[in-house]
Symmetry: C3
């Protein structure tokens, strides 16, 4: 039986997530539901898309991913499904699904437009419960993806910051702050390693004159010291051993980072 994952901005304080699960289990009692998170900041499509991307990579083949960060619910925005080789993604067509399917082999993109697969009465404010949950449950029960609605030629793609190479310098930025205050960047760890052949001893610059050493694990520096490390999703992240890089270094989403250029003299450069 399939896995259905849920990624939303609904929080855990109200009944919203429980309602979605009730609807799913009423239609597909034997499905396994996996909460990715319900703590996406309200309406933050970018954060939802990034989280879905990370989570989807670890799910079993055949997983059905329901993502709902949906400020346009009830308006003309479409509800869509994207079928890849290994999974199905369901959500509003606002860019939320676009990072997770980037680079995947996409088989079909369809509008969710078959009312027989919806909840009997569809509200204008809670399509997580009334549209996405029941469609996911029907798919988990074996309804073919082609039945969800007509194919659509395209879907909204989120603009995503790509690293930029400028001579000998690779420029990136912070794309996520995690629960520990680690600042995840868009610098691909493998590329950084190849880019800078002298991996050990290398550094990531977080400000014009402030670099942190690129090491192999958090504990490679003294407690309280900053570092960069190849994170668990393959991207370089800036951290503090036993601390919060976001708080202590003042890092936030969008902050520039770079690799290459000046070399770091000591373990810690002067602050710019």
């Amino acid at each position: 039986m399939s896995v259905i994952t849920l990624t939303t901005d609904f929080g855990l304080d109200d009944w919203f997530v429980g309602a979605m699960k009730g609807v799913i289990l009423g239609l597909a009692p034997r499905v396994t539901i996996v909460d990715i998170t319900h703590a996406i900041p309200p309406g933050d499509i970018r954060a939802g898309a990034f989280t879905l991307l990370q989570a989807a990579r670890c799910q079993p083949p055949g997983a059905i991913h329901v993502a709902v960060v949906d400020p346009g619910v009830g308006s003309e925005r479409r509800a869509i499904g994207i079928q890849t080789r290994n999974a199905v993604f369901l959500g509003p067509d606002n860019g939320l699904l676009s990072l997770a399917v980037r680079g995947e082999s996409i088989r079909s993109v369809r509008q969710l437009a078959q009312p027989r697969l919806f909840r009997q009465s569809v509200s204008r404010t809670f399509h997580g419960r009334d549209v996405f949950a029941p469609v996911a449950a029907h798919l988990a029960r074996g309804v073919p993806f082609s039945r969800v609605g007509p194919p659509v030629p395209d879907y909204v793609r989120l603009r995503w910051p790509e690293p930029e190479l400028d001579g000998s310098i690779l420029h990136g930025q912070v794309v996520h702050i995690d629960r520990f205050g680690n600042a995840i960047t868009n610098l691909d760890a493998a590329r950084v390693t190849i880019f800078d052949k002298e991996n050990r001893g290398s550094a990531i610059w977080i400000r014009p004159r402030r670099a942190v050493p690129l090491v192999e694990c958090y504990a490679a520096v003294q407690p309280g010291e900053p570092l960069a490390v190849a994170g668990s999703c393959g991207w370089i992240e800036i951290a503090i051993n036993g601390g919060s890089a976001a708080r202590e270094l003042g890092l936030k989403v969008g902050d520039p980072v770079r690799v290459g250029g000046r070399r770091v003299g000591r373990g810690k450069g002067a602050d710019g």
Copy 2:
């Protein structure tokens, strides 16, 4: 196999919810447990009752609902079960179950008084684990409801604010603030629509001289603008497109709202 739902004020920081689940799964390994929420404010029976009401409507037939907001645990307050046509509700007899069963066809109300269905040793502070969880598991395994204990003639009912019609004005109030800062009122959306035949262009008054337009979805007004909408549970809610009505309009549980009376001239009335 049955669904058991959990609605508590236990939070997710301690082991309380995990302990309840362990007890349930030890007795009924194949049950599916659905967390409604564990973030009911400590001891807030009214909030728990309202949340249970909303969540229960979406659960599969035969669901067993365990609700524990139980400031009187260990005292003389009774533990009860209420069997309706479609579900069983278990919890302390303090009003917590009373909204969810209002209007339902009640088949049986019983005191939970059969120690063989409890955990071997019952603490004085954690009946969620020691009484409600194991009784729910036994019921899920097929123990008949009549075995939980003797029938009781009545149960504690929560006083619930009903809207009041005063001439051409329907008075209600805010009954819940959700995670998005939406203020859910006790005004039935269908009734409001009938009450005010000119649905489009109508307004909900949130202060003597401040009205918000009644529209069909959040995105029907400009970002940052207030609105009223038929919410997903059938009640009128006050929201701000992309914002928090609770924070930006200062709304809280108990605040009066009304429909009818003065008509709203512009999209936004003068603030009273």
Copy 3:
């Protein structure tokens, strides 16, 4: 099919927990996963160990407990498994597992060192996903515990404060503050009862000159009044009926408490 429990400091805001569950379900689709908590304060091994101890006692026989509070991830710290008569515990060898297995009959302690049981590529920062989750799933599917790696002679044990008897006074301390602000002590409730034969009317001293009455349930004192009660895990806890003992009495982990010595005259002693 087995239960796998999860106790971590990963929080619920990111994809970390969802990633672990995806890995588990990819290997063992029919396992039931129970979240104990993911809100252990980052890196707080002691809090994680205490929570795991409480939660493990309530799980079904055969449960596999995965605990990850792992500031040393990626360093030389070992990953271990401890098999007891009723359960298996998996986690970093930093003391995290040591309270839960104290007093249990330990059958085997092994280092997790069999890469075939790990995720294909093991990161240096997320062994929850790459080591502990897949090993747990393999065990749940029936891989014998002896296959996880070589036996190790010992494991890191957390220092735990034991109560001390000084003449007629039993000294203890606060070891946990729960979600309600209850201060759980290391004083065994059964021992306190025997120690102080006059159980009713007894008191727990929380400061040199401030005692709270030992009663049978929260509601035994007036709302807003402090009390001590035999908590649900068998330890004495300090609470306020309808309030937060941590906030209102200023209690925190490590604060001394005692039973015996001066007797309490009134329900509430003078504050020292």
